[in-house]
């Protein structure tokens, strides 16, 4: 019978209409609930289809459920209730991922859902949940990563790159974010900016400094002072820049990364002293007295005593930012005559 044949669509359509109506009425929570019902029914059907013909529709569902959940949560938060719809959307998408992740033609769509999941998890701050999804994407041998659509690959690399920033695994973060940057559509500047927001601190950490024009082009001027501080060895400027944009850096999660640039700034400062000494007296240039560094820091209004500076010199040597040794008795840092300030060259500090 005709009605029987299409009966399964009732479950999809009716809640969907309800969702639409509620959305129009501004009842976002109700709308979300109905939409989730509809989406669940859709997934049930989708599971039964052998081909992936409805993949685009699924993507729309995955996208909209996330956006709707976010808005519903905002509505819930406004009336003082526990915003949990996004979490619900997360578990729904996890289910969708399960439908797609297996073998077969549907797998192409898995990365899109993964990216939506990333967005949810990053928003909720439950980043640890990403791990299972990543594992399932990266360990699958049957499906090459390159076969996924490019936009999904870029998004995926962006988020996994951010995860690596959190873990301070800079080479990996560099690789992933650079991949995202090179494959990103050059016209979508907002996306490029988002990628650069993380890529720049990563690159700085491995000793590469961006051009000022790049920062200006993508309106990333919050980094310009930091770059300048690195170039000048100006500790005060670095600290100032960090304090100025503290909130922003904390929110985006690069604060700790940027803070670690301090050592490079010290290195630069010592190098400057070294160069000045070399100009004065090339023979004694490789011996830097602690007092000199203390004095230099005092000019920068950094109040540090000899012990502290000694500690910093020790760390610089220990982390291989300065080659040489420190003579404790005479309070003199003796620099190596060959390449006393090794460049990082893409390697993170301390390796």
């Amino acid at each position: 019978m005709q009605s029987e044949k299409y009966s399964q669509y009732v479950d999809i359509m009716v809640p969907l209409f309800r969702a639409l109506q509620n959305y129009r009425l501004g009842n976002l929570v109700d709308s979300y609930q109905a939409f989730e019902k509809s989406a669940n029914a859709f997934i049930q059907e989708f599971r039964n289809w052998d081909s992936a013909w409805a993949l685009d529709a699924l993507h729309v569902v995955a996208y909209e459920i996330r956006v709707l959940a976010e808005r519903a949560d905002r509505e819930l938060g406004a009336i003082g209730k526990n915003p949990e719809k996004l979490k619900g959307a997360g578990s729904f998408l996890m289910k969708v991922f399960g439908v797609l992740a297996g073998k077969g033609p549907k797998r192409v769509g898995a990365l899109y859902v993964t990216c939506q999941l990333f967005k949810i998890y990053f928003k909720l701050g439950t980043v640890h949940l990403c791990r299972s999804v990543i594992r399932s994407i990266e360990t699958a041998r049957i499906f090459d990563f390159e076969e996924f659509p490019i936009r999904d690959k870029v998004t995926y690399m962006y988020y996994t790159g951010r995860l690596e920033v959190f873990n301070e695994n800079f080479p990996a973060a560099d690789h992933k974010l650079s991949y995202a940057l090179t494959h990103c559509n050059s016209r979508s500047e907002a996306n490029i900016r988002m990628i650069l927001k993380y890529l720049i601190p990563v690159k700085l950490s491995i000793g590469m400094i961006p051009k000022n024009s790049l920062l200006e082009k993508y309106n990333l001027t919050e980094y310009s002072n930091i770059v300048l501080a690195l170039k000048r060895g100006d500790l005060r400027l670095l600290r100032h820049a960090l304090r100025e944009h503290e909130d922003r850096f904390l929110r985006s999660g690069v604060y700790l990364v940027l803070e670690k640039l301090e050592l490079q700034v010290y290195q630069r400062l010592v190098k400057k002293i070294y160069i000045i000494q070399k100009q004065k007296d090339p023979n004694k240039a490789h011996q830097i007295k602690l007092e000199v560094i203390v004095k230099a820091l005092k000019w920068l209004e950094m109040d540090m005593d000899v012990d502290e500076v000694e500690c910093i010199m020790s760390i610089l040597i220990y982390k291989n930012l300065v080659k040489g040794y420190f003579a404790h008795k005479s309070k003199v840092a003796v620099l190596s005559k060959q390449d006393p300030f090794p460049k990082l060259n893409g390697k993170p500090v301390g390796s």
Binding site: Q44, G88, S91, D247, H328
Partner: protein, 864 residues
């Protein structure tokens, strides 16, 4: 459209399919009666339906020859199930029609399993609506809640009444904004008799999909975790449709409401999820006449014990029933059987009696039984024989009777019986219950006098716990020997308790003590009970569950019946109000609802806190006391400055001894308390929190979120500033700064930093040995790395200097440092040699909680 008339039997069988759980059914359908959604079988959701074909013959036979099944053994226990009217099949199309013609006076039963462990101690609220049926089912499955279900063959039309119930209910949850409601339609039928039906409850996305294998049924669970499933067992017992409505409340995902709508009656079960268990908090049902007819009760955790009737008893029952010639006789017979079994259970001979040779009782006279079967009565007239005498012995306040072991076995087996199925008895189960009761006996004394332990029966399943407690008891006992001279009354009380806890022997002296104590408590409790307005007569003394539950029902009775749904009940009203006046109380994790007589009210708790704060005793004692205070606060829902202070005190003590686990518990509680705007030392604890994240969790994301949460004002705070400075020192590895901050730390920041000192020193020495050449004087290391008081300027305290030096030397040696003396005789660290020789030694006295000073043996010596 297909019609659903009886001649198309297979179509209606489709409804047995789990797919009949219409996920998409929305409440509006109920009102519209929109045709067509009967097609909404969810294909992929039916993994459990393994034998749909089985059902066909059964169904048909029951269609055609409703009587034929009756005399077949246990099947006959559910007589009502075999008489389904043809008419209700047609009602499947739309929900409002599902409610068949209703006659509230003749009902059959829907059985809802309840917790077997707790159920026996409940006054079983079987409605007397129809005594014959309730009696029957009670005999076989005493732990089930009965829900009235009209016998469909009496179709007097009270359709409208039923409709109104449904609508009323629907309105109630439509109105409530935060509720999720899904309605499932199930067709429940009696399958093979005595068979357990597994119902798989999967929560998906906050909803429950309900699938069932074979016959029926209904239930609960919403977890919001898609991959987790709750399993529960159901016994199919009714014929007719069951509507299940799941209401997951949005404000509290772990509580949910199951509404079971049997044609003509409603039944609500309130569920609460805790950990992996489902706690059925309350059930009450509303029969067709919209009267509250059955009792509500609080039920325990839902762990399924298989049924445990001896086979011989089964045979006995079958023999007894086989004599019956017609329905009425059968019913009477079942009543008599029930009494026999209850008696046997009560005197503990259920398993010992030889049922094979047991004489059958004479066929009962039928008149009396059937007469009073009709009208529903409130729970106060519960069948008295439901309560076995063994229950009374569970009141922990009573003197210990000598025949405890027997009693215990009885109560355990009673539990088993209550949940029992005839078919599932097996030897292992029996042994299990017996073993448990022995176990029980072993640990009995230690459990018996625990202050917060009110349901000893519950402890059956927790054999490891009492053992642990006992071990602690031993420790405490020896402590008591020291303490015995204390003149404080409280102390003696505690001492008595402690010694009671370990006294395994039943010395007469001991028993006397216990009796005295019991009497004392009995008095307190008695007073309280008198004050309890809602306390119904039939509810067993000391049974809080029952008291509270019946309070619920009675209050419902007062308020004009079913117009209020369960979800409207103010659960906070059930909050315990403590009456205990003891200031000291040992902590015991609650395994059941708290007993007011063991809970201290706020003013006593305040005293208790003061007592702990001024206590000279060691951390273990304080921790224990504070935990019990926290527990009492929690069960009484007290969240105010006192709560904050308790948690703060506990957190400080925990920091002082480096008990991070305990500290973290307090910190997370404090976080929510502060968030509620309750005043306290917020800044101090945000500093601790920061330090903890920095130094011990080593998680950048946590650190970032902790830092970004700090307000501008918070960053000005001295303690927070210090914590942030420590963070900077740690991330940059600046050991000089770290140890300077260590010396100037405010509050207990030092204590938290203490735990990191070792790591920092080790990293520092490694750094020095790599960067400094050729040597570093030990005095410098000692000064920089915060070894005590090496102040080069203060020459007068030369001794102290060497103290710090020596300690530093010891430390360096312990970590593989190469020390030599230089020309002037000063000890120096040979950095080049050190580079390869440094190592982090294993802590010698590693203990589980990270602080050797907390080891139990140590605890003893310190205490004395």
């Amino acid at each position: 459209m297909k019609d659903w008339a009886p001649r198309k039997v297979p179509n209606s069988v489709m409804n047995l399919h789990p797919g009949a759980a219409f996920s998409g059914v929305h409440d509006c359908y109920w009102k519209n009666g929109a045709p067509g959604f009967r097609n909404n079988h969810l294909g992929p959701l039916q993994p459990n339906d393994q034998k749909p074909l089985d059902m066909n013959p059964t169904y048909e036979s029951y269609q055609n020859q409703p009587k034929s099944a009756l005399p077949q053994g246990p099947n006959t226990l559910y007589p009502a199930t075999h008489t389904a009217p043809p008419s209700y099949q047609s009602s499947l199309q739309t929900v409002p029609h599902i409610v068949p013609p209703l006659d509230s006076q003749r009902v059959s039963k829907l059985q809802i399993p309840t917790n077997p462990r707790i159920a026996p101690s409940l006054p079983l609220g079987l409605p007397k609506t129809d005594r014959d049926n309730s009696a029957t089912s009670a005999a076989t499955k005493p732990a089930y809640i009965s829900v009235s279900l009209p016998k469909p063959n009496d179709k007097v039309s009270s359709h409208d009444a039923a409709d109104s119930i449904l609508k009323m209910h629907l309105n109630s949850h439509v109105d409530r904004g935060g509720m999720d409601a899904i309605t499932y339609t199930l067709l429940a039928r009696d399958g093979a008799v005595g068979e357990w039906v597994e119902v798989r409850l999967g929560a998906r996305n906050g909803y429950c999909f309900l699938t069932s294998r074979r016959n029926i049924a209904v239930m609960c669970s919403t977890t919001f975790i898609p991959s987790r499933f709750e399993w529960t067992k159901f016994r199919s017992s009714i014929c007719g449709e069951v509507m299940v409505t799941l209401l997951a409340s949005a404000w509290e995902p772990n509580r949910f409401l199951v509404v079971i709508i049997v044609p003509g009656s409603l039944s609500y079960i309130f569920h609460e999820r805790r950990r992996k268990q489902i706690r059925t908090a309350c059930a009450l049902c509303v029969d067709g006449a919209a009267n509250v007819s059955t009792g509500a009760r609080l039920l325990g955790t839902q762990k399924v014990l298989p049924g445990m009737f001896p086979k011989s008893l089964r045979g006995y029952v079958e023999r007894a029933l086989a004599r019956c010639k017609d329905d009425t006789q059968m019913v009477a017979c079942q009543v008599a059987l029930k009494e026999v079994i209850t008696r046997a259970t009560a005197d503990g001979t259920l398993y010992t009696r030889d049922w094979d040779t047991e004489p059958l009782f004479p066929l009962p006279n039928l008149d009396g039984v059937h007469k009073d079967s009709v009208f529903s009565t409130p729970i106060s007239s519960l069948p008295k024989n439901k309560r076995s005498p063994s229950r009374r012995s569970k009141s922990r306040w009573e003197p210990v009777p000598e025949e405890k072991p027997v009693d215990k076995t009885a109560s355990v087996s009673q539990a088993a019986v209550n949940y029992g199925s005839w078919t599932h008895f097996n030897e292992r189960d029996k042994q299990f219950s017996v073993r448990k009761s022995e176990n029980k006996e072993d640990n009995f004394s230690s459990v018996k006098f625990s202050f917060s332990d009110q349901k000893t029966a519950n402890k059956n399943a927790q054999s490891p716990r009492p053992a642990k407690r006992q071990c602690l008891g031993d420790v405490l006992n020896s402590m008591d020997n020291v303490e015995a001279s204390s003149d404080s009354d409280k102390e003696q009380n505690l001492t008595a308790y402690y010694s009671a806890a370990i006294a395994l022997g039943d010395s007469p002296e001991e028993r006397k003590k216990r009796e005295n104590r019991s009497k004392r408590f009995e008095k307190v409790r008695g007073n309280r009970a008198d004050n309890n307005l809602f306390r119904p007569k039939n509810v067993g003394a000391g049974n809080l569950y029952a008291r509270r539950a019946s309070a619920l029902v009675l209050s419902k009775n007062f308020e004009d019946s079913s117009s209020r749904a369960v979800e409207d009940i103010d659960w906070d009203a059930l909050t315990v109000k403590g009456t205990c006046q003891e200031i000291e109380k040992r902590y015991l994790r609650l395994t059941s609802a708290p007993d007011p007589s063991t809970v201290r009210p706020e003013e006593v708790l305040e005293k208790a806190l003061g007592m702990v704060q001024n206590s000279e005793k060691n951390y273990l004692y304080k921790c224990d006391q504070l935990k019990s205070i926290r527990q009492d606060l929690t069960v009484q829902h007290i969240r105010n400055e006192l709560t904050v202070e308790v948690y703060e005190t506990h957190a400080r003590f925990a920091i002082e001894v480096g008990d991070l686990a305990e500290y973290n518990q307090c910190q997370s509680q404090l976080k929510t308390l502060y968030a509620e705007g309750i005043k306290g030392c917020h800044m101090e604890f945000s500093a601790y929190n920061l330090l903890c994240v920095i130094l011990h969790s080593n998680n950048n994301r946590d650190l970032l979120s902790a830092m970004s949460r700090l307000s501008v004002g918070a960053r000005q705070d001295e303690a927070v500033k210090h914590a942030l400075a420590v963070r900077a020192a740690v991330t940059s590895g600046n050991y000089v700064l770290f140890f300077r901050l260590y010396k100037t730390a405010p509050n207990l920041n030092t204590c938290l930093m203490d735990l990191y000192v070792e790591k920092m020193r080790y990293a520092a020495v490694r750094c020095m040995s790599r960067s400094c050449r050729p040597t570093v004087p030990v005095s410098y290391i000692a000064q920089v790395l915060g070894f005590p008081t090496v102040m080069p300027t203060v020459d007068a305290s030369g001794e102290k200097d060497t103290d710090g030096l020596e300690e530093c030397v010891e430390w360096l040696k312990a970590h593989g440092g190469c020390l030599t003396a230089d020309n002037s005789g000063e000890m120096v660290l040979d950095t080049k040699a050190c580079m390869s020789s440094l190592y982090m030694p294993e802590p010698e006295d590693a203990v589980a909680h990270g602080d050797a000073s907390l080891a139990v043996n140590d605890f003893l010596t310190k205490h004395s």
